[in-house]
Amino acid sequence: MYEKDGEKYFVVDSHMHYWNAAPDNWVPGAEQYAKGWIECFHAYQGLGPPATHWTIEHFQKYSEDDLMKDVFEDGHVDVAVFQPTYLKEWYKEGFNTTERNAEMGKKHPGRFIYNTRWDPRDGDEGIEVLRRNVERYGSKGVKLYSAEWNSGSRGWKLTDPAAYRYLEVCQELGIKNIHVHKGPTIWPLDKDAFDVSDVDHAATDFQDLNFIVEHVGLPRIEDFCFMATQERNVYAGLAVVIGGLMHARPRFFAKVMGELLFWVGEDKMTFGSDYAIWEPKWQVEGFVDWEMPDVEEFSDYPRLNAAGKKKILGLNAAKLYDIDVPAEYQLGAGQGTPAAQDDAQLVAGA
């Protein structure tokens, strides 16, 4: 929780990790990918304030104590959603698995939500693992990384028939939230890997599921906006928007926020620190302090007040994940409904 100028913010970090990317976890023969992946993440951290940069060694493997301090003690977060990323072709025990997250999280009851994942290329066996994970960890959400390599394949799309089968199983198991993360390598490689039209189709066909597009579809923010504005069940995951732009490129941060507020709206944007890429503390504090610049260039963008920031920092995600929010952190009368879907279709004909 965070309090500033008399306003109280309940903070849900809806996108964070507990990874091991140290050399002891690299798959022999795939070291260059394991190393390249974590170095790429580390470069993203370089976009945050210099005082929050870590050494690569610390970044490769941080401790449970580091996480608890950075996220909860210092970072103002009330509840955090673990988003696993397996990458088992490169990391022996996986980069950041559901099991690893749960092993750590069970020592801190009430702090974590365990999302799991699936990969349509894993077939029947994968569906069994998904069922087991939902049973064991109570997962209400999954993180899908469509560019993951798997037995010679460089990725998949949500519209693949095998993926639809998994989405049907999600509905059956009570999974509500599908976090989609696009990456650079999708088969076939001659197509744009970041295209979000498959999310559009799946969101239309699975109305009971919420599709949270992580990193707001970066680097295809425009395609994401044009799609999201037409789909009542598509949300914008802000991980990387705040961490990657608010400090490094404040003017573009304001413009991207303006675009998202216009096309998607404050009811459908969720904060995620992407820890350990960035610590939540400076992101939460900076975002609460942030205001749309009061100059002509930004004049036709919607404004964001304290109520809107409360939704984005926590109340929207709390609604998606049925997290109890103490009364003092909830919105007052007339301040709107977090995660409301009826404000969608903001821009007709987009």
């Binding site: 260059q32 990918y33 390249g36 992946w37 170095e39 790429c40 580390h42 470069a43 993203y44 370089g46 976009l47 460089r154 990456g183 650079p184 390598t185 088969w187 076939p188 490689l189 001659d190 197509k191 744009d192 890997a193 970041f194 970066l218 680097p219 295809r220 923010i221 425009e222 906006c225 044009f226 990657g244 732009l245 490094a248 490129r249 573009f252 413009k255 991207v256 675009e259 216009f262 096309w263 002509e296 821009v347 004909g349 987009a350």
Partner: protein
């Protein structure tokens, strides 16, 4: 003998990363007897050719983005170029296009007998460098992983560039008081000349879209058809979002590149 133009130290270039062709910033090692690199005939010409190669996604020259790590031209016409990207996992299709375009731009120069372009530090370096050197095309370079060449991908991104360029051209007009419906009646010839306008015309021409003085200012970049009256506000809105998306990505890419390499690229410009 080869006199390289090499990337300059970032710390030696405070206040910017600009290095103009033939005038790289930063300290450089020169072997006694070598002619000074910047005056070596050829290498500035190579850099100039590379300045015409764009990142198709960001619609900016690979030089100003800082992607050119070094380029040399030997006395007997061997050009050697090293490129670098913001991350190890940048999309391989765009990376391939940049390497292939760099190869084509440099090998077309008079006096260049042989061209080598090497993409460094990328997960698909071997496939890309080998494929471009063998002039194999994308699908053959990524055997079994691609079904076609990259023309469609390139055209898709040129259309985005046209949308972004539409915002760059229209925004000053709107700020000066032109109403959106009036933009619809305007032709490219009605717009005061600017770099943004030249660029928009060039991108439209590359796509085979009307780009002459009598062509409408507002067109659908997929079909070339004029934008309908009632569609103008949404068209302008989409143009703006597309521009912001590209510029925000460009900002992130520059930041990542800077974290990855502590030297400025040849011709790198801060934005």
């Amino acid at each position: 003998m080869t006199a390289p133009l090499t990337a300059g130290s970032r710390s030696a270039a405070p206040g910017g990363h600009s290095a103009t062709p033939g005038d790289p910033r930063g300290p450089r090692q020169a072997t006694p007897g070598d002619p000074p690199g910047p005056r070596q005939p050829g290498a500035p010409r190579v850099l100039q050719a590379l300045a015409a190669v764009r990142d198709p996604e960001l619609d900016e020259p690979i030089t100003s983005l800082g992607f050119v790590a070094s380029c040399t031209l030997s006395a007997d016409g061997e050009a050697s170029i090293r490129l670098r990207l913001p991350t190890y996992f940048c999309a391989p299709n765009f990376a391939f296009l940049m390497v292939a375009d760099a190869y084509d731009a440099v090998s077309a120069l008079a006096g260049v007998r042989r061209t080598e372009v090497v993409l460094e530090d990328h997960f698909a370096s071997a496939a890309i460098n080998g494929g471009v050197a063998a002039r194999a095309g994308f699908a053959r370079s990524f055997d079994g992983e691609a079904v076609g060449e990259l023309h469609q991908l390139r055209a898709d991104f040129l259309r985005k560039a046209v949308m972004a360029g539409t915002d760059q051209v229209c925004r000053p007009l709107l700020a000066a008081g032109t109403e959106p419906p009036a933009l619809r009646a305007m032709t490219l010839g009605d717009v005061p000349g600017s770099r943004a306008l030249d660029r928009l015309r060039q991108r439209r021409a590359e796509l085979g879209l009307p780009a002459g003085d009598d062509a409408p200012l507002l067109i659908d970049p997929a079909t070339g058809a004029p934008v309908r009256d009632d569609a103008v506000p949404l068209h302008l809105r989409r143009a703006r979002t597309t521009r912001i998306s590209i510029e925000a990505n460009s900002g992130i890419c520059r930041g990542m590149l800077r974290h990855r390499y502590d030297t400025a690229g040849l011709g790198e410009e801060d934005q």
